[in-house]
């Protein structure tokens, strides 16, 4: 690649994660030859987060298999990496960003790919030693330092991350309790059928799952180490450490301070353009339109980060490649792979294929007025793969055929 010195400052990317890394790859693939500067506040080059609650937490793979691209890649792509560097302000008029150490860096086009951060729990004792969150490689190392057989761990929040951590911890012989404020795990995202299934699986593995439990505080000892989780009414869960997984918040403040439109995430169009013509945003931090579901979404998924990274690279080089896909996601717990496609919100009927009470594989289809809008498939790739296509087509399906295991998934859409 020839890198002619030019007066134009080039493309600056804030945040060095999944979306940013994809954008660098795609910018070069789109033929962009100008300067790219990637500024990230973590010490590591861009890496994948899904393994942090799965194989990396379990110690099955090292960081070399979690990072997205080897270090040479950025050098070869003539991309300047500024790691351990936080951007503290964007000046949209002057077209510059300011870093925590006082550098002012000019941009021609700016991509905000700041991701999201964990929602913190705001109860007494929140700052005790041994109360952890899980978002970064550093968090994993801290959590692993407590991974000794028999150690008592309390997980606050029965979402995907909490349950994945529970599965890994159980395999390591820890004593695991999950506290969930709703009346079932995964309440925000799946039908009760799927919640019950995961409650059964975790209970069988020896995880103590407690629903309808709201944490009101943490107890500590004289050394400021957490010793218990207070669930109110005098109920204390003694523990050696805690992992809190109660959701995330989009990192949209930088954009907001710069006068860019923000509303539950940075508001972008289908080509990742923000309200400023030279500023784009991609990944967890965005609020974007989805044509399949005909509404705005804020998603927390690898697919979203990758696809918006590609779209942003195209848009920054003057091409429209609208991002418009059926959202999908996965979660690994024990030997179970959950694959989710679509969005089940507002479903009017849930149809089960297989037997979640006895088997470790089944699927739940979500229909809205007969149209397939989402699927949760546990160890059922055919149901997942086929549904992804059918959701995009707004297929109206016969619930009886969906439930009928004798009908191949390739045939369910046939009348």
């Amino acid at each position: 690649m020839s890198m002619s010195a030019s007066a134009s400052p080039g493309i600056v990317i804030i945040g060095a994660g999944q979306a940013a890394s994809q954008a660098v790859v795609s910018l070069r693939a789109e033929g962009f030859e100008g300067a790219i500067t990637l500024i990230g506040d973590e010490a590591e080059p861009p890496y994948q987060r899904p393994p942090l609650s799965k194989k990396f937490l379990a110690g099955e793979i090292g960081f070399d298999r979690v990072e997205l691209k080897p270090a040479e890649f950025y050098a070869n792509a003539h991309c300047t990496l500024m790691l351990g560097t936080r951007v503290t302000a964007i000046d949209a008029k002057a077209k510059t960003v300011t870093t925590g150490d006082g550098h002012v860096i000019a941009y021609t086009k700016l991509l905000i790919a700041t991701g999201s951060r964990v929602r913190e729990i705001n109860v007494p004792g929140f700052d005790l030693k041994g109360v952890h969150y899980l978002r970064s490689v550093g968090d994993v190392h801290e959590i692993q330092s407590h991974f000794k057989a028999g150690a008592r761990m309390v997980i606050v929040g029965g979402g995907y991350i909490g349950l994945e951590v529970a599965a890994v911890a159980k395999k390591n012989g820890l004593d695991v309790t999950v506290l969930e404020t709703a009346n079932r795990v995964l309440a925000r995202v799946v039908d009760p059928i799927v919640s019950r299934f995961y409650e059964r699986v975790h209970a069988a593995a020896g995880v103590n799952i407690c629903t309808d439990v709201t944490v009101v505080g943490f107890e500590g000892d004289a050394d400021h180490n957490v010793t218990g989780v207070n669930a109110g009414d005098g109920k204390i869960f003694p523990c050696d450490f805690v992992v809190v997984g109660i959701g995330i918040l989009p990192n949209a403040e930088l954009a907001e301070m710069a006068g860019i439109e923000v509303s539950n995430g940075i508001v972008v169009d289908e080509c990742t353009r923000t309200s400023d013509p030279d500023i784009f945003a991609a990944g967890d931090c965005t609020n974007h339109p989805n044509g399949v579901f005909d509404r705005r979404l804020r998603l927390e998924s690898v697919q979203n980060a990758i696809e918006q990274g590609k779209t942003a690279a195209a848009a920054m080089t003057g091409k429209d490649k609208p991002y418009n896909q059926v959202p999908w996601f996965w979660s690994d717990q024990y030997d179970l792979k959950l694959q989710i496609a679509g969005l089940s919100q507002g479903y009017t009927q849930a149809v089960t294929r297989g037997n979640p009470d006895t088997d470790n594989n089944f699927a739940v289809f979500y229909l809205k007025d007969g149209v397939l809008i989402a699927v949760d498939a546990v160890n059922r790739p055919p149901e997942f793969m086929m549904s992804k296509m059918l959701i995009a087509q707004h297929a109206k399906l016969d619930p009886a055929r969906l439930a009928d295991e004798t009908i191949n998934m390739k045939e369910v859409a046939k009348a």
Partner: protein
């Protein structure tokens, strides 16, 4: 190190020396070989790392597990000799293997 060749749909070849133990998918994405997307990073969840393995090599690879098999069954461009590259571990037994990528992974 094991020598592996990836052939793009256009016919363009890329030969790499790959550290044993990595998957074919990891080898390709780290080397930025176009034609393998690998959106899920090897979790066998996305089926965007499909490759075609010539018949004489198929027998030297570990068998597909049911998860991989059914994912492939529902891939748009899959054929009898398709595999998910993230499920194939590189070892000296694969020295010289040549795999081909589909026209697109989506």
């Amino acid at each position: 190190m094991t020598k592996v060749t990836f052939i793009e749909h256009s016919g363009k070849e890329h030969t790499l020396d790959v550290a044993d133990g990595l998957t074919l998918m990891e080898a390709a994405t780290k080397a930025l070989i176009p034609g393998i997307d690998a959106d899920c990073g090897g979790a066998c969840a996305c089926a965007t790392c499909m490759v075609f393995v010539p018949e004489d090599w198929a027998g030297k690879l570990a068998d597909k597990d049911p998860m991989e098999d059914t994912m492939l069954d529902f891939c748009e461009h899959s054929a009898e000799n398709s595999r998910l590259a993230c499920q194939i571990k590189v070892s000296p037994a694969l020295e010289g293997i040549r795999v081909t990528m589909p026209e697109s992974q989506h």
